[in-house]
Amino acid sequence: MKVLYFAWVRERIGKPEEDVTPPASVATVGDLIAWLSGRGEGYAHAFENPRVIRAAIDRAHVRPDAAIAGAREIAFFPPMTGG
């Protein structure tokens, strides 16, 4: 699946997007955050406080307990500050 990062999540990880293939045990958005956190220092820094991370599956907001099965695009970003 494609994973996208925005704002300081993107800066800390050091890339705007990538393709990842998590193991089958990674079932939810929260699981994916935990799994990505183990991929390196930048990831650990980006996801050090998972409570502040917002997520979207296929361009719609989801909660951490949302299932990722069938997702094409999952995005992680800080709380939004538009307007």
Binding site: F77, G82, G83
Partner: protein, 165 residues
């Protein structure tokens, strides 16, 4: 209802957008135009400008979902939302919401509703450039709990628990 949603780097003309929404119409009795403008300070410190990052595709979709929600909730004749991205300097416009209705209440309420949700749910992030002592430093703007509270009040209904979002 006429709904226009645009994301663009270029400036917009708020008056022209409001005119376009009402031109040739006799069913519209009220137009509310809200423009959000880049201030020259953030938390009391002067800024040189800001850069708005957005999530292309989702930003349009998310704004569209809130325009549809506004349409279900109020009697609207037209809505225009324009949100800029890229670099914006103090004094420049950032966001435009125009709502049109037969009577003023719907247009006022829908414009405020849309702005409250744009601030908290539309995927945009502001990074400010601070100009202090000749050196330019940047930092991401923190989300404000007051903005969440402003958006949250629209989901309060008598006899119902406040929706979790």
């Amino acid at each position: 209802m006429t709904a226009t949603i645009r994301l663009q780097q270029e400036p917009f003309d708020a008056a022209a957008e409001a005119r376009a929404l009402t031109h040739g119409r006799t069913d519209i009795g009220a137009v509310v135009t809200f423009t959000g403008i880049c201030r020259g300070d953030e938390n009391g410190e002067p800024i040189a400008g800001l850069t708005l990052e957005h999530y292309p595709g989702m930003a349009e979709a998310e704004i569209g979902r809130h325009v549809e929600a506004a349409e279900r909730r109020w009697s609207l004749r037209g809505v225009t939302v324009i949100h800029r991205h890229g670099r914006i300097t103090p004094g420049e416009d950032i966001v435009l919401v125009v709502t049109a209705s037969s009577h003023r209440h719907d247009a006022f309420a829908a414009a405020e509703f849309l702005m409250d949700y744009l601030k908290t749910r539309a995927p945009f992030w502001k990074r400010v450039e601070r100009a202090t002592g000749g050196a330019v430093t940047g930092s991401w703007v923190d989300a404000k709990s007051s903005d969440d509270a402003a958006a949250g009040r629209w989901s309060k209904k008598p006899g119902h628990n406040q929706a979790a979002e």
